[in-house]
């Protein structure tokens, strides 16, 4: 009990608190979910808010969101003690639990995303079903659902449906990720998690990581396919990335500041955390290296009109840092909240092993899988070249 300040407690952890129950997998899960939400936001900026400059990546970001969505639940499944019972979450849900929403929100969102992709690519699918042969022809023909209507009226209908779906998708994406933040923010037993700001911070950092990953993949894909990168598109993405980053970093810092200023009973343990277990991962890497540097770099390219080469380089460099920043943020939240015992006077370390079930290798594999899927999706539904416009 920290409110008896004149006591000096020596270290002690509850005997059941000697273990980190939520491992790297639970770091990866909100990270991948965040990438989904972030990529979707970009596509909605074009489809709903008509940001024409984002057109080159509007389709790509949808495929990216879908690729990551397919693997968002994999780390969770790998973490569960009984993955074979995972569907219990939809069979006998307990609606007072944040996780029980996952099954429903996740599947609804997956359906919505698939629908949107279908409508966006419908014309292409019909085109390919006529151009290709063999298995691919069968694949595309099945996807057309036997309807080959590409009349102007039908296209107008498609456009309308896409706008509606994208519009529904924005609150859905916010919910999908806001709920992940809620999952942590609503644990009153844990002072490092328990804050109403948590869902907002998760959402903003999701947007940051999603846009950063989109920039990175877009640049890589363009170089790889030897196509021109749209200058307006990158400049616009830079602006959005910067805006979300400012909001994200401000809220993250505000949270710490409020805790510090109040110096309530939580601060005792959080102060210790920040000075020890989280000193490098939070203060040095997340805040100083991965937040402040991109904040300044993006600020410079957004305020001054520099040459496109410099802008592109800064954008790539900042995106890379921000992809790490958000991963570190997930780490610092998930693992940071478990470094201390519920006694608040005992601490423990966490060093994931390379080969263990929920270790580093598993993390790398799970993270590479969606990238491969995104690559395949882009081969099946080419969208980055200019002559393949919707």
């Amino acid at each position: 009990m920290e409110h008896f300040n004149h006591f000096h407690f020596l270290e002690y952890s509850f005997p059941n608190d000697m273990y980190i129950y939520w491992t790297l997998m639970i770091v990866l899960y909100p990270y991948i979910t965040g990438l989904v939400a972030g990529a979707f936001i970009v596509s909605s900026l074009y489809h709903v808010f008509g940001k024409e400059e984002l057109k080159p990546v509007a389709k790509f970001s949808l495929l990216m969101a879908f690729g990551f969505l397919l693997f968002a639940s994999v780390p969770l499944l790998n973490h569960l003690g009984h993955p074979e019972r995972a569907f219990n979450v939809m069979i006998t849900p307990n609606f007072t639990s944040a996780i029980s929403g996952f099954g429903f929100i996740y599947s609804t969102y997956a359906i919505l995303l698939m629908l949107e992709i279908w409508f966006v690519f419908r014309k292409d699918i019909i085109l390919y079903s006529q151009k290709t042969t063999g298995f691919l022809k069968f694949f595309y023909t099945t996807l057309t659902l036997g309807n080959f209507n590409v009349s102007d009226e039908a296209m107008k209908v498609d456009h309308k449906v896409v706008t509606i779906l994208a519009a529904i998708g924005i609150p859905m994406a916010c919910m999908l990720h806001g709920y992940v933040g809620f999952l942590f923010g609503a644990v009153k037993a844990n002072p490092w998690w328990s804050t109403p700001l948590m869902p907002v911070i998760f959402l903003l950092s999701a947007a940051v990581s999603g846009i950063a990953m989109l920039i990175l993949l877009y640049i890589i894909a363009s170089k790889f396919m030897k196509i021109d990168i749209h200058e307006e598109c990158i400049r616009s993405l830079n602006k959005y990335l910067w805006a979300f980053l400012i909001a994200d970093v401000t809220l993250e810092m505000l949270e710490i500041l409020v805790l510090f200023y109040e110096s309530g009973e939580e601060w005792e343990v959080i102060h210790y955390l920040l000075a020890n277990e989280l000193f490098y991962s939070f203060i040095i890497f997340q805040v100083f290296i991965c937040s402040i540097i991109p904040l300044i770099a993006l600020g410079i390219v957004n305020i001054l009109t520099l040459s496109f080469r410099v802008t592109l380089f800064t954008s790539l460099f900042s995106s890379l840092l921000l992809i790490f920043q958000v991963f570190l943020m997930r780490w610092n939240v998930v693992i940071g909240g478990q470094h201390f015992s519920k006694s608040f006077i005992g601490f423990k370390e966490y060093h994931p092993l390379f080969f263990e079930k929920e270790g580093i290798l598993a993390t790398i594999i799970i993270f590479i899988c969606p990238l491969i899927v995104i690559y395949i999706l882009n081969r099946l539904f080419p969208n980055l070249k200019d002559n393949e416009e919707f």
Binding site: M1, F4, H6, F7, H8, F9, L10, Y12, F14, P15, N16, D17, M18, Y19, Y21, W22, L76, H79, L80, G81, H82, P83, R85, A86, N88, V89, I91, T92, P93, N94, F95, T96, S97, A98, I99, S100, F102, L183, V187, K188, A189, N190, G337, Q338, S341, K342, S343, F344, I345
Partner: protein, 253 residues
């Protein structure tokens, strides 16, 4: 004629099945509504009010309760459904706390900085909170509150996500390395329903642990409950624990 009859029969059967099916479907569609039917719930609530009292002043830290719990409930090594903490407080208000092996083998003498001004043992176990955060967060309804207000885990439904372990402010839960499901103190539900005492209560040679029904005026707990100076752990979290501590010092975490 015969054939027609049969045909009619099967048609009727089909109709019947169709109606049954559609009723079932509509029920199914309506199903995922959390039950707010208080009328029904009231019937299910048992007319009992079980509480667990811990008398800190009586505990000698022998750890027999921890041992009894482990044998009775097959608690995996290095995990605890109940444990005993030792507090040694020096004149300079330095608080030394430990619980070697959960206190199972008793406590060895410990030197602390300065003279021990005050010392005591605190047995800990699941608080079976009325307003419990662990049941609240269980996504699959595997953690539940029995009609007698025991907080239990359904090992057949638990997916082992560990959310309840995170949500418990007292460290009473763990993921069992044997069953890969959440595990915790059950207040020996299987013994209480058989009319026996909890294993830990029975093992305690000092009556430092008491368990009983407050609604039963003959029970020991009902005789002491309102007369003693009782406290609960982390009251500010509003979990409303049903495990009470007598004469608890401010240093207890």
């Amino acid at each position: 004629m015969e054939f027609e009859k049969m045909n009619q029969q099967s048609r009727r059967d089909f109709l019947k099945k169709f109606i049954q099916g559609s009723t079932a479907l509509s029920v199914v569609l309506m199903y995922p509504v959390p039950s707010f039917s208080t009328e029904k719930d009231k019937k299910k609530k048992a007319n009992t009010n079980y509480v667990y009292l811990v008398d800190i002043g009586k505990c000698i830290g022998c750890g027999k309760c921890v041992k009894a719990c482990r044998t009775e409930n097959n608690v995996p090594a290095d995990f605890f459904r109940t444990w005993v903490e030792r507090y040694l407080i020096s004149f300079q208000h330095e608080v030394f706390t430990d619980s070697p092996k959960g206190g199972e083998e008793g406590f060895q003498p410990k030197k602390i900085k300065g003279e021990v001004e005050k010392g005591f043992y605190v047995p800990k176990l699941c608080n079976h909170c009325s307003n419990t955060p662990c049941v609240q967060v269980c996504p699959v309804s595997a953690s539940y509150k029995s009609p007698e207000n025991f907080i239990l885990v359904d090992k057949e439904r638990c997916i082992g996500c560990g959310y309840c372990v995170q949500a418990c402010p007292y460290g009473s839960r763990y993921i069992s390395p044997n069953s890969h499901t959440a595990d915790k103190c059950t207040w020996c539900y299987h013994r209480i329903t058989k009319g026996l005492q909890n294993a830990c209560v029975q093992a305690c040679p000092r009556e430092a642990r008491l368990f009983g029904d407050l609604n039963n005026s003959k029970s020991k707990v009902s005789k002491v409950f309102h007369r003693e100076n009782l406290m609960v752990l982390k009251p500010h979290l509003m979990t409303n624990p049903q495990t009470y501590y007598k004469d608890m010092a401010a240093e207890v975490i």
